[in-house]
């Protein structure tokens, strides 16, 4: 009676959306840099004020655990597909393929990103601030990999909202599916431009 596959798959979908909510907060915080380095440092400072016994459980329970589940089960799902966008070059099939390609990139990128900026800096006592990030991102390879990482996450999430509406049977007919798809891709484009702008602050002498 209880089909474990069904609940796991629906949980994977919900967790994806939840991680997307975190992604939006994360992008929101990062956008402080658009108002200047001081604003960015203030935002990082406020987060640093949070005591570790509160911050660590949140990071482990609300970020690491959902991520671990979504990533592991996501790998299992991605391995079930033989992407065929060359033979069937329809828009939605390209999105399906990109959903999987971005997933693979994110898997590697997020481990690197979290390890270096959240774990390594804490162990070695590096103080995170605008100036540190600026010197870190002055390496053009890192900068490009970070922009790609953000774009991958944004596409994966916004396209995820789109497929979420199909997976849960919210959007049934072709017209509403197309409307939601276009809205999600619009959001994707807007967020990509936004993150590009904030990443440019680190390498251009704007402030």
């Amino acid at each position: 009676m209880f089909n474990i596959t069904f609940y796991l798959r629906r949980l994977h979908s919900l967790v994806g959306l939840f991680m997307g909510a975190f992604l939006m907060v994360h992008i929101g915080n990062n956008s402080a840099v658009l108002l200047g380095p001081d604003m960015m440092n203030m935002v990082i400072g406020t987060m640093d004020k949070m005591p570790m016994f509160i911050r660590l459980p949140i990071e482990l329970g609300l970020i690491a655990a959902p991520f671990g589940f979504h990533a592991l089960y996501g790998v299992y799902i991605a391995l079930q597909a033989r992407n065929n966008p060359i033979r069937y070059g329809y828009l939605q099939n390209w999105q399906f393929t990109l959903q999987r390609w971005t997933a693979w990139y994110l898997l590697v990128f997020l481990i690197w990103h979290v390890y270096y900026l959240a774990i390594h800096t804490r162990i070695t006592g590096i103080h995170l601030c605008f100036e540190f990030l600026q010197s870190y991102l002055s390496n053009p390879v890192y900068w490009v990999l970070y922009v790609l990482g953000m774009w991958a996450a944004i596409f994966h999430f916004t396209n995820g909202i789109n497929t979420f509406c199909m997976t849960w049977g919210i959007a049934k007919g072709p017209r509403i599916q197309m409307v939601i798809n276009m809205a999600c891709m619009g959001l994707c484009g807007a967020l990509c431009l936004e993150t590009l702008a904030l990443m440019l602050v680190y390498i251009l002498p704007i402030f």
């Binding site: 089909n3 596959t5 069904f6 629906r10 391995l79 079930q80 597909a81 033989r82 072709p174």
Partner: protein, 250 residues
């Protein structure tokens, strides 16, 4: 003598289920309204490759020759379609023919689609009318759902949708879109409705509807124009409700 117009086919062949695939090129005279099955018949009559080698005739399957039996599905220029209604004039030359490798290949273009029948059994693709009870006048069809059921009933288990689906194949246990649409058809039938919960539970199991990743290929590939993605979304709704029932009814 005027130069005769010809058609070139590049056919992916395989001598046995485990044989290594290879390709052969055939050239035959063009004629008006030539389709792929008719061309394959010509090759069967005279199985000589373009470079003059006499070879074993190409094996493929067909029956109705009018897009109702489903038997002649193969991959033509990269896309799964019915060979009997694939007009040569509408295809880019040379025309590539390949077996639908989502299914086990028996020989050349001949595939084994037994799995589609097994999947129909799995989702209980039938209506229980026989039993120890008295057979009465059947209940009336709802004219609104009957139109939908009629559309889905056109399915000829050709397998185009399975071949196009990135999630169906040897790498996965996904039953594919067509049995899911069939389950919906039986679910909206006034008699079939009684077994709706059984069908939905079967679809919630491993390899059922949850294996769909919303690529949308199936609806584009279906030669019968069945609105597969719409019914997939509908079944997704129905299984959500069924899941709640499973939790709160027991």
């Amino acid at each position: 003598m005027a130069l005769q117009k010809t058609v070139t086919f590049i056919i992916e062949r395989q001598d046995s289920p485990t044989g290594k695939p290879y390709t052969q090129e055939f050239e035959l005279p063009w004629r008006p309204a030539l389709n792929v099955v008719a061309a394959l018949m010509e090759i069967q009559k005279n199985p000589v490759t373009k470079d003059g080698k006499r070879v074993a005739p190409v094996v493929w399957e067909c029956n109705c020759l009018e897009k109702v039996c489903g038997a002649c599905m193969m991959v033509i220029n990269g896309k799964a379609q019915q060979a009997c209604c694939a007009l040569v004039d509408k295809l880019k030359q040379p025309i590539h023919l390949a077996p639908a490798r989502t299914f086990p290949v028996i020989r050349d273009l001949l595939i084994d689609r037994t799995v589609m029948f097994e999947n129909l059994k799995r989702i209980q693709g039938w209506i229980n009318v026989d039993g120890t009870w008295e057979v009465r006048i059947p209940p009336r069809q709802n004219p609104n759902t009957a139109a939908t059921a009629y559309e889905i009933s056109h399915c000829m288990t050709c397998g185009c949708c399975l071949e196009a689906c990135p999630n169906v194949g040897p790498q996965s246990d996904f039953i594919g879109p067509s049995p899911i649409a069939q389950a919906y058809m039986y679910n909206i039938n006034p008699l079939g409705e009684y077994d709706k919960a059984n069908r939905l539970n079967a679809l919630m199991a491993k390899g059922g509807i949850t294996s769909c990743g919303n690529s949308g290929n199936c609806v584009k590939a279906c030669p019968k124009g069945i609105k597969l993605t719409t019914y997939l979304a509908q079944i997704n709704r129905d299984v959500n409700i069924q899941a709640l029932k499973n939790i709160f009814d027991h």
